[in-house]
Amino acid sequence: MITFSDINKSYQLGSQQVIALNAVQGKMQKGSMVALCGPSGSGKSTLLNILGLLDMNYQGQISIDGNAYPKGDLQAAKLRRHQFGFIFQHFNLIPVMTALENVAYPLQLLGHNRSQQHQLAKQILEKVGLGEFIHHRPDNLSGGQQQRVAIARALVHKPVLVIADEPTASLDSKTATLVIDLIKQLGKEIGTTFIIATHDYRMAKHCDETINLIDGVISKEQNQWAS
């Protein structure tokens, strides 16, 4: 379970101090999918970065499975490496690596040997329907295929938490639906918790709960699009 309380974050913009998050709190059950919704500038990316340990300059408490988030950069990197996965809006695949190598990268960081890396990467690439594209480089893959590679990369090491920032924003509606289904299916299989910042109501609709942020404050904690 991930819990966060009294999260405050402010920026200095010239002489003005901008409050990005104000006493934000909440909790996410293990294996749940949580949508982080809100208009632009509402603070959802800020919260996502804080929960993903990409931004450590905040006030408040966050814990994962009862353990407080680390404060040091290296400990944060270690936690990200072992327990986190990331899906980005623009896929952020490494252009010189093949799909297989991109997916195998988190395993390489964890010290798996080459055959293990390739075996696990192949398995998950097959699950996301890219078994025939494992040796393709990102520039030879469509946007949807690239995002599927990114999903595979985020999940290959079975992380506790996956941070997804607008994962369907760069995709057409048909591909977006496929990606949403894939995230949900794989998330359930692995038991990973997903926090997804999204504008896409279809995405939010599939989530177990929704955190709505407006001007850095949680306005309502419910899945407003859930059927």
């Binding site: 950069d73 990197a77 952020n92 988190p106």
Partner: protein, 422 residues
Amino acid sequence: MGKLIHNISEPMRIAWLNLLRNNRRTLLSMLIISIAVFALTTAGGFGLYTYDSLKESTARDTGHLTLSQLGYFEKEEETTLSNGLINSASIIPTILKNEQVRGVQPRIYFTGLISNGSKSTIFMGTGVNEKEFDMKGPFLDIKQGKSLSNINMSRYDSSEPEIMLGVDLAVNLNVEIGDWVTLLATTSEGALNAYDFKVQGTYSTGVPELDKRQLYIHIKSAQDLLVSDKVSTLSVFLFETELTSELQQTISVQLSEMALTEQIQITPWQDRAFFYYKVKNLYDIIFGVMGAVMALVVFVSLFNTMTMSVTERTREIGTLSALGSYPNEIILMFIREATLLAFIGSLIGAIASAITTLSLMLIDVQMPPPPGRTDGYPLNIYFSIELFSYAALGIVFICTLAAYLSARKGVNKPITEALIHV
């Protein structure tokens, strides 16, 4: 082993692919590195050739080892040959027993007046035996006639003692091969003595000042002229210059066992190689400055290349950091690229340098005479693996430093900023 090769080759493959992302920039950086390595190894190779030639020239001139009375080079002679060696006849066979020794040449250095009958001038004479010219090899350029004959040969006419004159001295005295000149010198007893000599040949040392004054006569003739059995020095010539210090020790031990009546000083060629060290010091400074300039050029170029590469890949750095890569792992990735660039560039530079060396063996390129000399010399450049290794290591270090400084800036950027970098 296979795993080790993979652990090395796989990151290098990724580094190579990253370099190929911007072909033109990579090619330009590689070219700059190649030129730097080429310039350093070629200029250094020229320096090595020059050092070697000067070393050989000095050793062939003075001998690899010079045996003399203790303090011979520091104190002036009160009378002719007063500081000379008495026991040369017993010392020579002892030294010749060492198989590394090519020859031992007795020498007498003296001065006086030389005359053609109507004109006189001062000279610097050296009494040598005929083998002296074999030892000097290509470092004595005989312009006309022949070198001194062996006085033990039946054809040698003792009534016609031979002399070799420096080419400008012969011109000054207006004498040619077969002409007679008179040498006037002070004997060891302080009296004046004169002998007539027949001109056997003329030679050039390459130094005009020496060519105006120098002459060679046979050592026996010199002893007759100076009325002494002594010699000034004994020059020991070795088959290999590198054996100098080893032989110095051996001969020192052998001489100490001989119970000689005089103290002998053994001077290695390095201690008499004043010109060699002057040139070497000058070249070392020139090549040092050149190396520093090259290093700066490579550093600036590589720093620029790597900074551009890091800036272009800021989002990628952010992604790798988000995935849990440690900063040092990301920096290492850029260092690998710079090292690969340095390695390939250095290899190209070395190949170009080796081709230049080979070409100069086939094509005769003459260098103009150095200051104070009359003759030019063929341009040769050594290709030294050792020199190349130093140059390549230096370049790799510079490239690594440039990559480290550039990449460190990239990884220090906050991940959230790096991820939205455009």
